[in-house]
Amino acid sequence: MQPPLNPFHRRNTKYRIAEQSVLWVIRLGTYLVLLAASCIFLDIGIKGGRVVFQSAPPFVNVPFLTQKPETLFVFEYHGRKMEMGDADFREFKRINHITRIQAVSYAYSAGGIFPCIVGTVLLVVGSMVIALAIGVSSAVYLSEYSNQGMIVRAIRLSILNLAGVPSIVFGLFGAGMFVLFFKWNVSLMAGWFTLAVMVLPVIITASEEAFKAVPQGFREGAMALGATKWQAIRTNVLPYALPGILTSSILGIARVAGETAPIMYTAAYAVRDELPWQGVQMLHPSTWGNFLFQGVMALPYHIYVVSSKIPQNEYTQRVQYGSAFVFLAVVMAVALGSIILRNYFRARYKW
């Protein structure tokens, strides 16, 4: 006996075949994107991981993270191939009484990247403080106080447009205004303000969304109890919007840390021997300005310099992949943190 005919049974009609094949094509496309990205992560992760981590304790290549960049010298001594940083090389020559030796030098390839890490952290912290201060207050105005008017429309339009301006144009603007017009020269201050201006639209948009997520009843409840508008905002809106603002702003951090073009001519030096706090004495307030008005080394700029100004070979690969790995790891950790935190707060604050 034949089984009863099910009218909803799936048959391979031509429509179904077409659908399945299209489905597989776009599925393949999607996974290809993920694969391409994974290739980048793996290449930098594996080659850079070898530089930063090691198999013997303490498992992390501490000198690479805590020393200054140095020039690497490669030379042959008594038939052995030797690699040395600048300081070691001079010491070696002094001890062995060598005056003349054939050595190939590679800039930046020995030592570590400590000043770059410090510089990047300083740049990110300073610019985020400025951008958060301005951005959150703008968002308060836009979501709590503003009504539809000409000026508010103009402000919203300018925020949208600022978000699309290329980062190198911000760099030109910073060089024209802060570095030259205000005569701050290439300095932390100039970099802070340039980066803050660049990240401002991200912060404003994120904060506004966080404010909008706070239910209207919170504000109305406070006002009904006799609070003024500012009191209602301060006690009943800001505290609940703050987690949202902070998590979204972390994405802003990733952008600030990742951009190179705006700091090229406003804050970054290719090489600088002093660390930012050298030259500042706590007891002499007149030297405090030195801290603000000094250029720093920055990790993204360092990566640009080592990948374009020195040749690609086995000796330079260490610093190239090492710095790219450290930078990528930090930025990715920040981005991952923001995604995780966002999911956490989304689950926690439900109204």
């Binding site: 429509y15 179904r16 077409a18 659908e19 489905l23 094509v25 599925r27 496309g29 999607t30 994107v33 993920l34 391409a36 990205a37 980048i40 290449d43 930098i44 207050s137 703008s138 836009l142 503003s146 000026i151 402000i155 925020i159 949208l160 447009n161 699309g164 301006v165 290329p166 980062s167 190198i168 144009v169 760099g171 030109l172 603007f173 205004m177 030259l180 401002l200 639209p201 006799g226 508008k229 500012w230 840390a257 990742g258 951009e259 190179t260 073009a261 001519y265 993204p300 990566i303 640009y304 990948s307 690969q317 190239q320 992949y321 990528l328 930025v331 990715m332 920040v334 991952l336 995604i339």
Partner: protein, 505 residues
């Protein structure tokens, strides 16, 4: 409430209350972003706008000092050099062919000796013209220097007409030289040696044709020199048009600087087109997949992962291109099975295509996120109505969902374009940085040429030029162009979204 009382105590007497104060404080902060946009415009123009008068003076001096006159001769010499190079290219190819046929190098060179003698003689024919050109170059440079100095010190500019007399006096010499050159060339072309390697006759034929064309070009050049007039005024709009449509970006030259943005614009647009033609299919595909077909687990994996990609710093991508991708792509193109693809094998490791691939990876998250939003904004009823009529998922997708979210997808593509064209580090590191308009005659293979871009040139050259020089201002002008380009792209994207918004709930 206690606080309100305190506020009153402190501020009431002066007519101030904290509430309106806070309002003004927040309002002024919000106004800042408008101010910043205006400041950007102001400061870009402040540094850049002096470019036009300076460029006009630059162009005027170019004509008055006779540099333009000398450049007519220079074009002739350059063309001759180009022909010599063509001969060299033929020789190289023949040698390669011979070596591939296992002829030993000594013999190969011997077999090419006739050809070498010919190309040597060809090269020599232009010697007289070259020495004349270098004389003229010296004369014109001296006049230009005089004129430039007079301008700087504010003194009366020299009388260019009398200064130019010796330069223009070399015209009869030029006539004689060029006549001799033409005669020599015609002689030479009559006795082209037989090719040692069969199969190269066509290229020699082509060479002969090019050389005949070259000879035929002399009367036109002569007429141009005759009618050339140093006193012909350079109109003011040339300062703008030579920037926007100029085909040369030549700086720090001993001879004459040109600031034409066209090669840079071409490079930028070409890279953006390559990047988008990769990123749009992939970005839209994954958006469709995630929003319509993917299971909830896949969604949870794919969406954050693609967002994650957007956080990769551009300089790291650029570094990856320099260290890995460029080399890998070149190795792939050298596989002999793929040699039928136009442009393969590619000669330069860093070219427009390498940069385009990396920029595609940057643009995919932007396009993905915005298109997915657009797809999700399609009202449920649209889809349900379509299913109720018996349409399959594919039909619903292709005929209902995508058309109704097309405006959102289009604006996503535009914003991706804006992001790609404004990107600096990847193109600076991976585009090859050769300032020339790509040779589009090669068809699809032209995407493997190295190019330079607007963003790249600013990043590369701004650090090296003195402030206030014409070069510095030219770079700011490029910045202004970029700025307005981004504003226009943004405006169009917003306009599209607003105009085609679905209003049915």
């Amino acid at each position: 409430m206690i606080e309100t009382a305190r506020d009153k105590q402190f501020l009431r007497p002066r007519g101030l209350r904290i509430d309106p104060l806070m309002r003004y404080y927040f309002g002024s902060n919000a106004l800042l972003s408008l101010v910043v946009l205006i400041l950007i415009t102001v400061f870009l123009f402040r540094e850049g706008f002096g470019f036009f008068p300076q460029n006009l003076r630059n162009l005027r001096l170019y004509r008055q000092a006779g540099l333009e006159y000398v450049d007519i001769v220079r074009a002739r010499v350059d063309e001759h050099t180009g022909l010599s190079r063509y001969l060299q290219a033929i020789r190289q190819k023949e040698i390669n062919r011979l070596l591939a046929e296992h002829v030993n190098p000594g013999q190969a060179v011997e077999r090419l000796s006739d050809f070498d003698r010919f190309s040597g003689e060809f090269d020599k024919t232009a010697n007289d013209l070259r020495s004349l050109l270098s004389d003229m170059t010296e004369m014109a440079s001296a006049i230009k220097e005089k004129g430039g100095k007079a301008e700087e010190s504010g003194a009366v500019s020299p009388d260019f007409k009398t200064e130019l007399v010796p330069l223009l006096g070399s015209f009869p010499v030029y006539q004689k030289t060029s006549e001799k050159l033409c005669r020599d060339l015609e002689d030479l072309l009559a006795r082209i040696p037989a090719q040692p390697v069969p199969g190269f006759e066509p290229s020699m034929e082509k060479f002969k044709k090019l050389a005949t064309l070259y000879i035929a070009g002399f009367p036109a050049a002569e007429a141009k020199m005759k009618s050339w007039n140093p006193l012909l005024p350079v109109p003011w709009y040339r300062a703008v048009s030579s920037f926007l449509f100029g085909r040369d970006w030549i700086t720090n030259s001993f001879w004459q600087d040109f600031f034409g943005v066209l090669p840079l614009l071409c490079g930028s647009v070409m890279i953006a087109v390559i990047a988008l033609s990769i990123a749009v299919p992939f970005g839209v595909c994954s958006a469709v997949y995630v929003s319509e077909f993917a299971s909830i687990h896949e969604q949870r994996l794919i969406k954050p992962y693609i967002e994650f990609i957007s956080a990769i710093p551009s300089v790291v991508l650029g570094f990856f291109g320099v260290a890995m991708l460029g080399q890998t792509l070149r190795m792939i193109t050298q596989i002999s099975i793929l040699s039928w693809v136009p442009g393969f094998p590619i000669s330069e490791r860093l070219n427009a295509f390498t940069a385009g691939v990396l920029l595609a990876i940057m643009a995919i998250p932007t396009i993905f996120t915005l298109s997915e939003d657009a797809l999700n904004n399609v009202p449920r009823g649209f889809k349900e109505a379509s299913y109720a009529l018996g349409a399959t998922r594919l039909q619903t997708m292709a005929r209902i969902v995508i058309p109704s979210s097309l405006s959102g997808i289009l604006s996503a593509v535009l914003l991706g374009f804006g992001r790609v064209i404004g990107e600096t580090m990847v193109v600076l590191l991976c585009a090859g940085n050769r300032i020339a308009i790509p040779d589009f005659t090669q068809g699809i293979a032209s995407i493997f040429q190295p190019v330079h871009t607007m963003t790249g040139i600013i990043a590369q050259e701004l650090g090296e030029v003195p402030r206030g020089s014409i070069h510095w201002r030219a770079l700011f002008m490029v910045g202004i162009l970029l700025f307005f380009l981004s504003l226009i792209i943004n405006y169009i994207a917003q306009h599209i979204v607003r105009k085609f918004k679905i209003s049915i709930g």
